[in-house]
Amino acid sequence: MTGGVPAIEAVGVERTYALDGVDVPALRGVTLTIADGEYVAIVGPSGSGKSTLMHLLGGLDQPTAGTLRIGGRDVSGLDPGEMAHLRNATIGFVFQAFHLLGRTSALDNVALPLVYRGLGARQRRARAAQMLERVGLGHRMLHRPNQMSGGEQQRVAIARALVTEPVVLLADEPTGNLDSATGAAVLELLERLNTDEGVAVVLVTHDREVAARARRQIVMRDGLVLSDSAAPAGEVAP
């Protein structure tokens, strides 16, 4: 991304779920900008809307109100196919539950996003292998998820998120299923990728220490941004 276009830009974004006919507001007007190369931690109590926000930032979901631009592109009015294309081109996801394909090798798991980019098998494998080397799993290429530790699986997932060279990597509690030592290693990897490769990282965490290490912290509560260490005072909702 070059020029003044931020990687992700949300203006007054709302997301309301309809639950048994009752409207449940999960986000009630969130305005924030993720710039290229940022390292952002989102914290907040359970149910404050962190995951909902991440889904929106990653183009997995669409806001019920407000404006959301991903890679400079307004997502309102995009059909599911166009959203998929947008995700593939700009976003990398890391999930708490890893979400690796069970009967598939680490290499092919990492190569999966490139399938939907239309790359040939040879190229996919070459880039996936490169990515696995970069996350320190060059020796685990042909292992299946059930033949790897949790930390290794999450590193495979990170390699998968990065293989498309996304602008932003979104990680929703990536260490939630890992013990603290393994979790620390995963976070270190994310930090290193951020500094070395310049990929923007947005991280949801419950760990204050982890959040403190990020250059920018966003605190959420009740579907609103309570504080944003990077934002000018006016941008944060009251």
């Binding site: 889904h55 990653g58 997995l60 979901d61 599911p80 196919g81 998929a84 294309h85 995700r87 593939n88 081109a89 996801f93 999930f95 979400h99 394909l101 009967r103 999966l112 996003p113 399938v115 939907y116 980019r117 239309g118 790359l119 040939g120 098998a121 998968r160 498309t164």
Partner: protein, 394 residues
């Protein structure tokens, strides 16, 4: 590339659930197999009937009193030798006309006896019908004109009465009257349900005397060519009707016999194939069902694929291919089994079976079509899944 991935994933899914896939395929295997077998039997039977009818000779015209009806008993004939002369006049050539007077009689030679059908005929019979002799000679004009007691035997009759001995020149009694065997037919087999090797031919005049009648049951005419056959038939019927104004006559050609039989066989084959088709339908419903299960089981995978960039149609294609693969692999197995069974039946039993390439192609097309028809709903459902909801499913 996306197509290749969808294909690979679909194959992988089938392999991952081998037993389930096989059980799901079973419906298709049975349905397609049944269609192939039934079509093979139908075609084989039709071909056999056709060969039998055509084996009688070409350009044949059968003239009988009353209506030609495969279900009803034949009308008792009022035709006699004067009608024969009239028909010969219409045809213009005595060698192209023969008659039959059929009667079931006891025949005996020495200690061997059997009940068989005895036909009073003219010497022109082998010229009208295709009929080869194994040994001896056929009836002559003199035999017919003078009412000689000579007989030509069908192959089975000859073997039953004389065993390995040459029957020519031997004595034979028909209904207690003595005859001399002058010839034996070469084996011919069945035609239209009548065992042609169980016949005894004697001169018409002799037969009429034996039974005590002047009647003739039917005429058979060999038309000079296939073009004039219908008008010749009409002329003969008109002449007979002129001579017997109160009676009806009909002339049938081989084409008409084949048409009527073909229609009956066609309806029969269609009914059986429709029953087999129901099994395909049931198989299709099973595929639909199992695909819905497959979509549900793999909801998280669908969510993940969507998160990394799979479009709804990529996911839909993947599941549609899985369904088509299920049904078409089942279809191929069904074809293989159907062809195998048909060939075995054709080879090991008297039931004729002819495997046609088009029935296999059709069966394959139908099974792939069933996969598409019954896979579309589950595939669409998978394609439309909301990625956030799908990822959250456990």
């Amino acid at each position: 590339m996306r197509f290749a991935e969808a294909w690979r994933v679909a194959l992988d899914a089938l392999r991952a659930n081998r037993l389930r896939s096989m059980l799901t395929m079973l419906g298709m295997v049975i349905g397609v197999g049944a269609v192939v077998i039934l079509v093979a039997l139908g075609t084989g039977t039709r071909d056999a009937v056709q060969a039998q009818v055509e084996g009688l000779g070409s350009n044949l015209l059968i003239v009988v009193p009353g209506q030609v009806n495969f279900n009803a008993a034949p009308t008792v004939s009022k035709l006699d030798r004067t009608d024969l002369d009239a028909v010969v006049k219409v045809v213009g050539d005595r060698d192209r006309v023969t008659v039959s007077l059929t009667s079931g009689e006891n025949v005996r030679a020495g200690n061997n006896a059997m009940f068989t059908s005895v036909l009073g005929v003219l010497e022109s019979t082998p010229k009208v019908f295709l009929r080869d002799l194994r040994t001896g000679t056929y009836l002559s004009r003199t035999d017919v004109d003078t009412g000689r007691r000579v007989a030509v035997l069908g192959d089975k009759v000859a073997r039953q009465l004389y065993g390995a001995r040459d029957p020519v020149g031997q004595q034979l009694s028909i209904a207690g009257v003595r005859f001399r065997v002058i010839g034996v037919f070469a084996p011919l087999g069945q035609s239209l349900g009548v065992d042609r090797d169980n016949e005894v031919h004697i001169p018409l005049t002799t037969a009429q005397r034996l039974i005590g009648t002047n009647r003739i049951d039917a005429f058979a005419v060999k038309a000079p060519d296939s073009d004039g056959i219908d008008s010749l038939g009409r002329d003969i019927v008109a002449e007979l009707h002129r001579r017997h104004p109160d009676d009806e006559f009909s002339a049938v050609t081989q084409g008409q016999i084949l048409g009527a039989l073909g229609e009956i066989l066609g309806v029969l084959t269609a009914v059986l194939a429709a029953i087999a088709g129901i099994s395909l339908l049931v198989g299709g419903v099973g595929v639909s069902n199992i695909m819905l299960v497959s979509v549900r089981e793999r909801t998280r995978e669908i969510g993940l694929r969507k998160a990394v960039g799979a479009r709804p149609r990529d996911i839909g294609l993947q599941f549609l291919l899985e369904a088509v693969l299920l049904t078409s692999v089942g279809g191929i197995l069904g074809i293989v089994i159907g062809v195998g069974v048909s060939l075995a039946v054709g080879a090991l039993s008297p039931v004729p079976a002819v495997v046609t390439w088009w029935s296999a192609v059709l069966a394959f097309g139908v099974s792939a079509g069933v996969g598409i028809a019954f896979g579309v709903v589950p595939a669409q459902r998978a394609g439309k899944l909301d990625p956030v909801v799908a990822l959250r499913t456990d």
